[in-house]
């Protein structure tokens, strides 16, 4: 971290010195590209960190420019300048946040919908800018925009731009180190898993998009006095596309890359655009190459080059877990009730009047042949699968229509069948996110304190699975067995009342299976939580289960102790391959 701070301070010093080292026209041009670079930083926040690509970012830049242009047209006091800045930040942020909320609410992942909606918005902005002449001046643009009071637009305004850039860089770099930033990266890695850790992921993404809109608006606010004119091109899709290209070529995984991209391509373009007809075709080709072959862009290349010389500029300081959070007192008597739950997709019955009740804590195993509906039952319970009829009750409350991210709040933790962890985050970061479940509030979201949180359960888990101590290892490099264990640890760290484990021992070696069984039974004894474990391995069922449910073709076939189940004729028929 110290290393990047040095690099960033050096870059800042260079930027401040540039007007003294070169001519003022060069600094003036550079000022414009730095503003574009700022917008690129917002794109990097959404795209590189959050995994969703805004294609119409010029809209927010343009709104900022129109707002500040309108205010600066009339008055020249500092009060109006400050109000222009504030409005240019808040209005784009509000629009971006609102659009983000609506679009992300029902869409998971980085699908095309969000990108295309933002592209369409930018097109709409362009049309409005052309047609609403009374606000925007139409095709000819907003003209006669004064500079900031007493500030020469061709001279000292440059330093204000560098100042704004320094602020946006500092804010973004800090933001990405906070729990908010870590959660944003978790959303990129695995949105579904993040939801089951109790995070309203659409809110996180919308907030990031709003922040990117705010930064674009701030850059736009400086654009108006810098250029003295604001035309519809400023909100348009061509600039939007260029902004994405600059961010990609410069490098979207950090906040310096987008600036490098904007400045580099900006200067090259101003020299070559007119003399070389195919210049923009070449830029598009470079963009495609970056997307396909070097996603990190220029800054990614520099980082990997430095790494070759053993200079790792990306390593994080790991704070010690000095603050032990006391154990939750949550052990009420759990009652889970499936009441005639049916799910039909087309002609296929997935769940067929499934009814059962769990009233005692302990380990309940859910077994049955493939396709019996075990995972679907858990999906119905956690809001991943809508059921046509029936209802599921947990502690007396109906769970119908519950959103997955709400399940941890009511004491339900779930491990998915395929181990889902955040591959590009470190083991430490994975565990941090799990510890934050139900404990992180808005105030913590932007402070660094939650990194020092630890629990006694974590200490126990680290004893059972020593690899959890390897804090700086990326989770994606773990073996399948270790991933299962990490996923298990993340599920239970929130200390839920109802723990759903979907095949926790799948893919584990015999030795690892024993370790997992030991960890589960230890936790079952100490926490008195209720476990539902979907399992095929009868050895695991034998060692762990207090109670067994057998499902077949979407129905409950039998229930009881393992001895009772083994003696059950119907179960024997199903498992021996006979027909019922």
């Amino acid at each position: 971290m110290a290393y990047t701070l040095v690099v960033k301070s050096l870059l800042l010093a260079v930027l401040i010195l540039i007007p003294f080292l070169t001519n003022s026209y060069f600094a003036y041009q550079l000022g414009l590209y730095l503003l574009y670079g700022m917008v690129g930083q917002g794109i990097a926040l959404c795209w590189g960190k959050g995994g969703f690509l805004p294609l119409g970012q010029a809209l927010f830049f343009g709104i900022g420019a129109y707002i500040s242009g309108t205010i600066l047209q009339d008055s020249v006091g500092w009060l109006s300048v400050i109000s222009a800045l504030i409005l240019s930040i808040l209005i784009p942020a509000f629009i971006a946040g609102l659009v983000g909320l609506l679009v992300f609410d029902r869409q998971i992942g980085s699908g095309p919908y969000f990108s295309l909606i933002t592209l369409a918005l930018s097109l709409l902005g362009y049309q409005l800018a052309n047609s609403q002449v009374w606000i925007t001046g139409g095709f000819n643009g907003l003209t006669g925009i004064g500079g900031l009071p007493g500030i020469d637009s061709y001279g000292s305004l440059y330093f204000f731009i560098v100042g704004a850039l320094a602020i946006s860089t500092f804010v973004l770099v800090y933001l990405i180190r906070t729990p908010f930033g870590q959660l944003l990266e978790a959303v990129r890695e695995n949105e579904e898993r993040t939801q089951f850790l109790g995070i309203n992921t659409s809110l996180v993404k919308a907030a990031a998009f709003a922040i990117s809109g705010a930064i674009a608006g701030l850059a736009g606010a400086f654009f108006a006095p810098h250029q003295g004119i604001v035309t519809p091109q400023v909100v348009g899709f061509i600039l939007s596309a260029e902004l994405v290209i600059w961010a990609a070529v410069g490098g979207r995984f950090g906040f310096i890359g987008p600036i490098v991209g904007a400045v580099l391509i900006g200067f090259l373009a101003s020299g070559l655009r007119d003399s070389f007809a195919y210049w923009e075709v070449g830029v598009a080709l470079v963009f495609i190459l970056v997307v396909l072959r070097m996603p990190g862009g220029i800054s990614g290349m520099v980082t990997s080059l430095l790494r070759r010389f053993n200079i790792d500029i990306l390593s994080n300081n790991v704070s010690s877990r000095s603050q032990i959070i006391p154990k939750k007192n949550n052990l009420r008597k759990p009652v889970l009730k499936f009441d005639n739950v049916s799910v039909k997709v087309g002609n296929v019955s997935i769940l067929d009047n499934l009814s059962f009740t769990i009233e005692n804590p302990g380990v309940h195993c859910l077994i049955g042949p493939n396709g019996a509906g075990k995972t679907s039952a858990l999906n119905a319970l956690t809001g991943k699968l809508d059921y046509n009829t029936g209802n599921v009750y947990w502690s007396g409350k109906s769970l119908k229509g519950i959103r997955p991210f709400r399940t941890p709040k009511i004491g339900i933790g779930r491990k998915l069948q395929v181990p889902s962890i955040f591959s590009n985050l470190t083991v430490r970061q994975n565990i941090d996110i799990a510890i934050w479940v139900n404990r992180l509030n808005i105030k913590h979201l932007f402070s660094l304190r939650p990194y020092s949180w630890g629990t006694n359960l974590l200490k126990d888990l680290e004893e059972s699975f020593p690899f959890l101590n390897k804090t700086d290892v990326h989770a994606g490099t773990l073996s399948v067995g270790q991933r299962q264990m990490l996923d298990f640890a993340m599920t239970v760290l929130a200390e839920p009342d109802l723990i759903l484990l979907d095949e926790p021992c799948a893919g584990l070696s015999k030795y690892e299976t024993e370790k997992m069984i030991l960890a589960i039974s230890k936790l079952a004894k100490t926490s008195k939580a209720t476990f539902i474990i979907v399992e095929h391995d009868m050895h695991v069922v034998e060692l762990l289960s207090d109670n067994v449910f057998v499902m077949h073709q979407g129905k409950l076939l039998a229930q009881g102790s393992l001895e009772e189940i083994r003696a059950n004729k119907e179960v024997q028929v199903v498992y021996a391959g006979g027909s019922k």
Partner: protein, 283 residues
Amino acid sequence: MEALITFVLNFIYSSATLALIVLGLAMVFGLLGVMNMAHGEFVMLGAYSAYVVQSLGLNFIWAIPISILVCVVVGWLMEWTIIRHLYNRPFDTLLATWGVAILIRKGIEAIFSRDYKSVDQVMPGTIDILGITYPSYRLILIAIIIFLFVTLFAWYQKSKTGLRIRAMVQNPGLASAVGIDTSRLSTVTFIIGVSFAGLAGVLLAPLVRVEPYIGLDYLLSSFFILIVGGLGTLEGLLIGSAVIGGSDALISTIFDKTAGYLSVLLLSILFLWLRPDGIYSRR
């Protein structure tokens, strides 16, 4: 009454052309899971083919084979160099095809400049129908589109290739295990999809201003239709075209073009929020 008939015919005409444009995108997105951001650029290539054919003094009909040739070559190149490596990586496909879209746009701009080109009316006359006078080219266009849809649908349902494609979509692994060459089939599907876009471009060329950036509008309206109609069914595609085309036409007539555009954009955002699977969904 006459105004009503005119409106209904206009509505059918605009829905039909929209349906033709969205068809290729729906094929490629629905069957291959590839959001082809360059879809509109293939429409644009088709329109420019018509322009080139006319400026060479050839009969307009030549534009059809030429545009299909252009789209097959460009589409094949695109599939071969980019798409093929990115199946099952939807986000990267989005990015790469976005890059291709810019590439094609800028390429055409460099060759033909940004100016509007106009393609002459092929059939300037009108026909009296149901008591009103209506441009004959538009009526012919509606007929051609209906014919294309029926043929394609029958082919997809009855032909062996159609069966193979359906098998591939349902279970690619199993399809290749029983001897279906899924990678070739994907290439063919992609090329057919973009060729339909090119064909749409030719047919629309006499009615619109031809310029390098028209593709974007077509991409977005196709995308709105997919949101509203939902993926995977022909009914959804047609209903989506009617809803988007209809509300755009209606609001544009009452207020102005920008209001029409605003209304379909808001409609799409609302659909994404309230009915994320569209009116007609496979699920």
